[in-house]
């Protein structure tokens, strides 16, 4: 620490110290670069749904692997780096101290980029844990936890060493975000490794679903929302040069937001096999979130009161206003989607895709852009290269969002309506699922156009920022002076000011306690009380071949387009079969319920088609379903199954409590071969020649097993 005391006047001692702008600049570069990569992959994924040939018939570029790459890139690489950019700029300034440790800052930067690179390599290779937004395998999970906690330490230590008496609201949001994401990530990522690149979640079925969506929902809350609220609390008043509208509102909405958010996860699982009480908790806590969420929007928009004339001219404020408005819309829509009758329509459709992109493109994207346009002139000590280009970016980005969102809303409604429509004589009007998909292709094309427009805006921004940087010179450090902190005692201080705004450790622990409550109340009963997951006698563990096939299903990311959760609706029972029961998933490590039906539900697929149908369908889906937009999986027909892993996998399952007989791990491959020969025989009958150790054989065995156990219960032999 380079702090030197200097005496300016006889009465006042001023410390002299430096803010590190280089780290901020580096994070900003990472934001811009990864943002481009993530959006580009998103555009690719969008057009793959229009032109399936874009899957290129390669394992690495099929939609099932590209989609997790897109979501991980934009959430953790783009928004993550965007958060850190703003955080490392704002934190030292509002606390009047340099960051506690330069080294920890460097570890954070390089560690995070290394994690992103590892993700970018492993996801296309098919190394995935199969849980949405938490796909990365266990070694990367550990790296994330380490880097994350080190960054948290740096943040809290900086706050302890501050030169202001009180801690500003932005820092509350930063600290709460770090604490909660650490908690979510660790709890959701507990896995049993089988090899360096393969692990099984320790939770199964319903419990895994509950933990995963507790994580998934709060990744949205504490990775995409609260960090950016923190950024808003710094950059919006700075850019508008206005005081924050209401200090009290920031207190109320901060604590109520973090307390309520953590409960809302089950709204992703309405009408599933999750216990009813947990679903209802998800609904009501989501509804209660409207006002706390809007508290952030109000504090943002009302801060602009008296500065609206500036919004007309200042492109930074324009971006910020749209961002805050998009935040307000998304946080109103979210609670509405959590009402069960709305969820019944929207779940599994593109409505959800539209909803999240209003948040991602509008709130996160536009706030990031606003911050970058504000930051670069200050980092490089010269005005922005071109206001015109920035304005162009603003408009093309806004149009891009509209082009993205409107077709997706429309597509969601159309498809949901088609799924549910019956004819007067009691038949599904569109019994063939494919009909409801091909209907959407024009909307998918429009969505791709919207994404492309948004991406063009991003490219224009890069040019503008590079020009700005080149014309100026980076102020690597900024020298400042401030008096050192003297403990002052105010007798009649407001309680919040006295406790949480003076004591960073208390603030950290306080937010941890507040967020832990909701998770504990929902999870512990689901794990402890058996009646929450009623057992079904006839549900048996997967055979070794089926288990291997299931791992292929996970590896290929089938869950990105196919659900395995039939909701108790008349149309779904008619279309797919008996609705899914909690007890059917007890051996599913991890659960594969999915969240989107670009293709039909697969939970009752077993026995529906012959083995040969699956073989042909995986080789070329359009051969069995003309017009299908599913990618082809030709490599599954050629690639050899890794039978060497079978015994290790069975062993891992035994540790997790799956009742295979003792010593079965040694017999497993014999069992596997016997079952595989059966599949090969049936394929041979249909004129298809293949070997028993091909991957396709294992996958077929798994698909034929899906959802059939419960039938044995209904008609015992």
């Amino acid at each position: 620490m380079e702090i030197s005391a200097k005496t300016n006047t006889p009465h006042l001692t001023l410390d002299e110290f430096e803010y590190d702008n280089k780290l901020v600049r580096n994070f900003a570069l990472a934001t811009v670069i990864w943002g481009g990569v993530g959006m580009l992959i998103g555009v690719l994924a969008a057009f793959q749904l229009v032109f399936p040939e874009l899957n290129l018939n390669l394992p690495y570029t099929t939609f099932g692997r590209v989609r997790p790459l897109h979501t991980n890139a934009v959430i953790f690489a783009f928004v993550g780096n965007g958060f850190f950019t703003g955080m490392y700029y704002a934190t030292p300034r509002v606390l009047k101290t340099p960051m506690y440790s330069k080294l920890l800052g460097q570890i954070h930067f390089w560690g995070w980029q290394a994690i992103i690179v590892m993700a970018a390599i492993t996801l296309p290779l098919g190394f995935t844990s199969g849980k949405e937004y938490a796909e990365l395998e266990w070694p990367i999970d550990i790296a994330i936890a380490v880097v994350w906690v080190l960054a948290l330490v740096n943040l809290v230590m900086t706050t302890i060493h501050r030169r202001t008496e009180h801690i500003y609201a932005a820092i509350w949001f930063f600290i709460a975000s770090f604490v909660t994401v650490a908690l979510l990530h660790v709890v959701n990522s507990i896995e049993i490794p089988v090899s360096l690149t393969k692990s099984y979640s320790v939770y199964a079925g319903v419990q895994d679903a509950l933990v995963q969506w507790w994580y998934g929902h709060n990744a949205v809350a504490f990775f995409l929302t609260t960090p950016y609220l923190g950024l808003m609390y710094y950059f919006l008043p700075k850019a508008a040069n206005r005081p924050i509208y209401s200090y009290r509102l920031s207190i109320v909405h901060f604590w109520s937001l973090i307390f309520l958010y953590i409960w809302a996860g089950p709204h992703h699982l309405l009408y599933t096999a999750l216990p009813d009480w947990a679903q209802s908790l998800g609904t009501v806590f989501s509804v209660m979130l409207i006002a706390p969420s809007w508290g952030g929007m109000i504090n943002g928009l009302m801060t602009l009161r008296g500065a609206w004339d500036k919004v007309r001219d200042d492109v930074v404020l324009k971006f910020m206003v749209v961002a805050v408005t998009a935040y307000g819309m998304a946080t109103f829509e979210g609670p509405m989607l959590s009402l069960k009758n709305v969820s019944a329509i929207a779940h599994y459709t593109d409505w959800i895709v539209a909803h999240v992109h209003v948040g991602a493109l509008g709130w996160n994207g536009f706030l990031t852009f606003g911050i970058l346009y504000w930051l670069f002139p200050r980092l490089y000590n010269r005005p922005l290269y071109s206001q015109k280009l920035a304005n162009f970016h603003f408009w093309i980005g806004t149009i891009g969002i509209l082009f993205y969102a409107i077709p997706m809303y429309w597509a969601g409604w159309v498809q949901s309506a088609m799924w549910r429509e019956f004819t007067a004589d009691g038949f599904l009007k569109y019994p063939n699922f494919l009909e409801t998909v091909t209907q959407l292709i024009p909307y998918y094309a429009l969505r791709g156009v919207g994404g492309t427009l948004y991406l063009i805006g991003w490219a224009v921004m890069i040019y503008n920022l590079i020009k700005t940087a080149k014309a100026g010179e980076l102020k690597e450090t900024e020298k400042v002076q401030a008096p050192s902190l003297r403990e002052q005692h105010h007798q009649d201080e407001y309680w919040h000011r006295k406790w949480f705004e003076r004591k960073p450790v208390l603030l950290t622990i306080g937010s941890l306690v507040v967020v832990a409550i909701g998770g504990i109340v929902e999870m512990i009963p689901t794990f402890m009380i058996n009646s929450n997951v009623p057992t079904i006698e006839s549900v048996k563990p997967y055979t070794p071949l089926e288990l291997q096939g299931r791992d292929i299903y996970v590896r290929e990311g089938c869950y990105t387009c196919h659900s395995q959760m039939i909701r108790p609706f008349r149309d779904e029972i008619e279309r797919y079969g008996e609705y899914s029961k909690a007890g059917e998933f007890v051996y599913d490590y991890p659960f594969q319920w999915g969240s989107k039906r670009t293709g039909p539900d697969l939970h009752r697929l077993g026995g529906k088609y012959p083995d040969s149908w699956h073989y042909n369908h995986m080789e070329d889906p359009t051969s069995m379903s003309p017009g299908s937009i599913m990618p082809a999986y030709p490599w599954l027909l050629d690639d050899e199954l890794d039978t060497a892993s079978t015994s290790k996998k069975i062993r891992a399952m035994q540790i997790l409590g799956v009742p295979y007989e003792k010593g079965f791990e040694h017999e497993a491959n014999k069992d596997l071969m016997a079952q595989a020969e059966g599949v090969v025989g049936r394929l041979g009958d249909a004129g298809i020649k293949t070997g028993p150790t091909k991957e396709i054989v294992a996958l077929i065995a798994y698909l034929q097993r899906l959802g059939i156990d419960i039938k044995a219960e209904n008609n015992p032999h």
Binding site: R93, K96, Y168, Y233, Y234, P237, K238, P243, I244, Y245, S246, Y247, R248, L249, S250, V252, Y271, D276, S280, V284, V287, M288, I290, A291, W294, G295, I298, M302, R305, N341, V342, I345, W410, W413, V414, A417, M418, R420, E421, A424, D425, G426, F427, P431, N432, R567, P568, F569, R570, I573, E574, Y579, G607, Y609, P610, S612, W613, S623, M624, A686
Partner: protein
């Protein structure tokens, strides 16, 4: 939707829209008559009212908002017309609620306008108005004007130049928060304490019962249902043509377009795995043979459509010579007349 079902049960429901249309027309005719019969002095007085404080602008703005948003909703309602009444109902309800809210907002502003006009005559009345402008401002949380902001600026809050005001939480936001908490308590009471509301399983059962009643009523109207016992051979060329189209669309993937068989067996020869009578074929299509991979079509094809397809197979396809016939499977089948199948098929 239960609501819609209730509406359906009201006799002559079509009359109601007509009545409301009449009311509308009557209102506008009345308005027109009033305007035309107004005396010129009043008109002049009104057009000269000095409303330069922005109130009239606000009223106009809100009105435009209403019209604008109506336009937007009208567009959104289109996809629903593609099929789902329930969705349409939801959208209509949302539109109605939205319009009601906006109309409420207009009314408040009109009330303020009227209030202000009255105040020009009697300014001392201002404080007694229910929704005075100051109340409205306070409700929205902007009761402290910009010029007086210094009074609520918290002096000692200064973070890198960012200051904070001591505004209270806007009352409407506080009410919204309290309202949602109340909603949540009632919601949990309804579903989990008093069990008045239907949980998913109960909802499903009611839905299925309602569907069964509907279906039975429909079949009652449409006459007896065709099944494997009652099915007769369709002979009309148009029907067989429909059968062929259905076959190409649904069956060709596994049985080949010419019936020669690929994944599924050859349908042109005289060997049948599950019997070759029209009723047998109907039954196999309807219920499927899951263990052999033939799926059940009863949920996807209507009985009459199954009749057409099976007739097409039995009368048009059987006996033809396909391009790549699959080897014969099952037993030789002869129809009741005892006529053996053409010998050429037996390969």
């Amino acid at each position: 939707m239960k609501f819609r079902n209730y509406l359906d049960t009201i006799a002559d429901i079509g009359l109601y829209p007509l009545v409301s249309l009449l009311l509308f027309v009557a209102f506008f005719v009345g308005l027109l008559w009033y305007v035309l019969s107004m005396n010129k002095k009043d008109v002049k007085h009104m057009s000269n009212l000095p409303l330069d404080d922005g109130t009239s602008k606000k009223v106009l703005l809100t009105t435009f908002l209403v019209l604008g948003s109506l336009g937007a909703f009208a567009q959104e309602a289109k996809p629903a017309a593609a099929g789902n009444d329930e969705l349409l109902l939801y959208i209509v309800i949302i539109v109605i609620v939205f319009v009601a809210l906006l109309l409420g907002a207009i009314l408040v502003q009109v009330a303020m306008l009227v209030n202000k006009l009255n105040n020009r005559v009697a300014p001392e009345k201002q404080e007694s108005a229910l929704f005075s402008e100051s109340w409205w401002k306070k409700f929205r949380g902007i009761n402290v004007s910009l010029s007086e902001e210094d009074k609520i600026l918290i002096k000692e809050h200064d973070y890198d130049g960012i200051q904070e005001l001591d505004n209270r939480m806007p009352p409407w936001l506080a009410f919204l928060f309290q309202g949602t908490i109340l909603f949540s308590i009632i919601y949990l009471l309804i579903y989990h304490v008093f069990s008045i509301g239907d949980l998913p399983q109960a909802e499903l059962e009611k839905d299925l019962q309602a569907a069964a009643v509907q279906k039975a009523a429909f079949l009652e109207r449409e006459g007896a249902r065709i099944d494997e016992n009652s099915v007769v051979l369709a002979t009309e060329p148009a029907d067989l043509e429909k059968g062929k189209a259905l076959f190409v669309a649904n069956c060709a993937a596994c049985h080949a377009e010419d019936g020669g068989g690929t994944v599924g067996p050859n349908l042109t020869d005289s060997y049948w795995l599950h019997g070759g009578s029209l009723g047998d074929i109907f039954k196999v299509i309807k219920y499927g043979v899951p263990e052999k991979g033939m799926i059940a079509w009863e949920k996807q094809l209507k009985p009459q459509e199954i009749q057409f397809v099976s007739s097409y197979i039995a009368s048009s396809l059987r006996g033809t010579t396909p391009a790549n016939p699959k080897e014969a499977q099952g037993d030789l089948w002869e129809d009741e007349g005892g006529a053996a199948a053409p010998a050429g098929d037996n390969q």
